[in-house]
């Protein structure tokens, strides 16, 4: 019973594993003077967390399960819980990097009071566009040759199409 409790506690705290790896990877990249876009580093940290949490789950609980089926469901359970919680960590971090609302709230937090004009001059449409183009080139979703852009990866486009269908379902 104690093993089962420890297993659940490990999985509950698994986003901390992703966070700690993220913390380390940022410093490793900085040590080697690599300017890497923050989002791929965060994603890599989350992926690196999988074998760490997997090993912990195995040692604490899964290896002692005699029945193969129980072990199979235990592995699937760990994958789903870590997947859901670590994805939530990644999305939370991604919001700090990309979300317009977070940027606006942050500006107000640091400056107290901001007029709309000041906000527009610092966070203009052109600035918003330039940042996103740079980000999507770094994420391999766009490619740039000379001064023109083309679609390269189709992952975000695919996700976008799914979200459009979901938005229609929710009547947005």
């Amino acid at each position: 019973m104690e093993d089962g409790i420890s297993y659940l506690i490990l999985l509950l705290l698994s986003p901390l594993v992703a966070f700690c790896l993220h913390f380390l990877l940022i410093r490793v990249a900085r040590f080697f003077s690599h300017e890497i876009s923050p989002l791929p580093v965060a994603l890599f940290a989350v992926l690196c967390g999988l074998p760490v949490v997997g090993w912990g789950s195995w040692e604490i609980y899964l290896k002692d399960l005699v029945d193969f089926q129980e072990r199979f469901w235990g592995v699937l359970y760990a994958l789903l819980v870590y997947g859901g919680l670590a994805f939530s960590y990644f999305q939370t971090f991604a919001m700090t990097e990309t979300a317009r609302r977070i940027r606006i709230l942050r500006e107000l937090y640091s400056r107290g009071r901001v007029t709309l004009r000041e906000l527009e001059s610092e966070y203009s449409g052109a600035n918003m566009l330039a940042v996103r183009l740079e980000r999507m080139v770094a994420l391999n979703q766009l490619t740039q040759r000379q001064d023109r852009y083309w679609v390269k990866g189709r992952l975000l486009l695919g996700v976008g199409k799914i979200m459009e269908v979901w938005a229609r379902l929710l009547k947005f």
Partner: protein, 167 residues
Amino acid sequence: MKPAVLFTAFGLFVFCLTLHILLWRFRHPRRHALALLVIFLGPLVLFPFVAVKIWPLVSWIDLVAVSLLHIALSSAYIQIYPASQADSPSLRILRVVEGAAPRGLTEEEIHISFDPEKLLEARIRDLLEAGLVSSAGDALTLTGRGRMLITPFIYLRKILGLRPGKG
């Protein structure tokens, strides 16, 4: 690990998702985040009592395991929900560039294809409606709730040693 734990957690998640879809199709809430938290986490309060009635021999560890998986699935969904609620400038850019294939587009041409200025206004409006920001004349300030929301995001980046995000 019993398969019933996974199936029950999925069943609970699907129940909450169905409730969410039905409510949203009826009327959108004013405070989306709060509504989602109530819909997805509220049933966890009643779940143990219902589960014990249906499966009298269920162990408390199984109840915790079901709750944990449900929380993981719900948390992931709540995180991606904003992408369905608001138009994403990045996705709009990708669609515009895709539509111009094979000649490609310059930054100026992408800018002309959609109006990024409206995106800032839309977000400010969202923040005002959600009560995270208040306006006095032409100036915006954080409300207490806005400050509570943004503080963890700021500290996350500080602890990671990263400069503020570009938005």
